[in-house]
Symmetry: C2
Subunit: 282 residues, 2 copies
């Protein structure tokens, strides 16, 4: 019977620590403010925005919603971003991506001030996560996985870790963060000939390939910690599933995150943590 | 008998390709210019500078030497850097580090224009090597290791690679570059409990720990490619040695770099390649 690494208590604990810091900031006249910049009405964005607003409210963080029509022109969009960049009251900016095709996403990413980049998409944030320096912020999901390990007292130091997936939002940054925490990390990806032979050797497996239920029993051995970063709708099973086949993995694992209710449920708390960190750094 | 992966022919081939590009640039009125910014008279710096100038001359690249006294004040130093940053005739800047203690190295690193950062030390370059995007340049030694593999037709794709060392000048960037080339990379470091068990599993071993002759026969198995990035003076043997114990590794390896005459002898050619790339990007 694996220990179930639920995200909710991690998010709650994080929120408590944020609240304490927000109180201190407020005593100094600073109210952490998250700006959410959304273009159009994509369901995923709206749903995440709602979660982030709820979490922010419970942590005492203010939110400013900047919502632009799906057909907004590039100049108007960049002007809105620049206004948030320049506004000293705004500590963090969450810019939903991908942006509609008429907008210059690369330019927007380059414009966004790294010190406000609480979702870790700028070059400054990437350099920070690579160099382990306090420039920008790591992507929320990568840090959520780290916060989850920390909460459950799973120290990566000296451990073998296999990360499946090399994306810039999760695989690569979480690999670097685990290495900074003194784990020995192997990054597997689509061109890795025999992923199971590598994941079976690991103490901790981070599943972030984006391939639903692709990590089955053959990828695992007994006693591992399995962190599932994936989430998607399984049409056949009519439920949300992760990248790990939970039914196969749970009997083997020492500890495993559920999907939903695992890593994903920690991300908005991390977002709020990073907004507060941004306000504290200033 | 291992294939000896000598650096000299790699440097020569690189220089030929640079010369061809420099000719094209000159036809358009552009002469690639490398500025070397050196503070003080450290032997290592002077020796590398001499090598770089010789290589640049043979490739048709101009060099501007900016030499400041060891006790230069911070304002004077930063002004010299800013002048090179702003000068449109300067395509690449090599700033020797570490800087003397009275100088603000972190500020200098942040000031240096990523598009002129041909030695890969800025946040822009770090983000570029992490994201595999054309921002800045990778550190020369990391790219030298990659150029060496390329020259000898050793494709990292689908291979297991163990990198020993996680420094920002070689371990981490070369790990990323190998991953971008579709290798499956494990980064070992001082907190890895059993490095030999990992390196023995690899097809390619990159030794970059900075620990002289620390990679012995127990780290290796037959048929591997061994790339030695280290170099240092062995007092006992009265000769230059790398991180690999060559006498033990050579009989096992399929291919191995000598020290000296391996990776190190490719770095100035890479520096010139990156100066030319910088001129071509403009």
């Amino acid at each position: 019977m694996a220990l179930l690494l639920k995200g909710a208590p991690v998010a709650t604990a994080l929120t408590e620590s944020i609240k304490a810091d927000v109180e201190k900031l407020k005593k100094n006249g600073v109210v952490p403010l998250l700006a959410i910049l959304r273009v159009g009405e994509r369901n995923d964005d709206i749903s995440y925005e709602r979660g982030a607003m709820k979490r922010a409210a419970s942590a005492g963080i203010e939110v400013r919603n900047v919502i632009l029509p799906a057909d907004v022109d590039n100049d108007t969009f960049l002007a809105a971003l620049e206004e948030l960049n320049k506004d000293p009251l705004v500590h963090g900016i969450l810019m939903f991506r991908p942006l509609p095709v008429q907008l210059d996403e690369e330019k927007a990413r380059k414009m966004l001030a790294p010190e406000k980049d609480v979702d870790g998409c700028t070059d400054g944030s990437l350099a920070g996560v690579f160099a382990n320096s306090p420039v920008g912020f790591p992507p929320c999901t990568a840090r959520a996985a780290m916060e989850l390990l920390k909460y459950y007292d799973i120290d990566p130091k000296g451990k073998r870790v296999a990360v499946i997936g090399r994306s810039l939002v999760i695989g690569r940054p979480v690999a670097m963060m685990l290495m900074h925490a003194n784990a020995t990390v192997t990054i597997c990806h689509t061109r890795t000939p025999d992923v199971p032979s590598i994941t079976r050797e690991a103490d901790i497996v981070i599943a972030a390939s984006g391939q639903m239920e692709s990590v089955g029993a053959d990828y695992l051995r007994e006693g591992q910690v399995v962190i599932d970063v994936g989430i998607g709708w399984n049409e056949q099973k009519q439920k949300l599933c992760g990248d790990v086949c939970f039914e196969e993995a749970e009997p083997l694992a020492a500890a495993i995150t559920p999907v939903p209710g695992g890593v994903g449920s920690v991300t908005t708390a991390v977002l709020c943590r990073q907004v507060t960190d941004a306000a504290m750094r200033k």
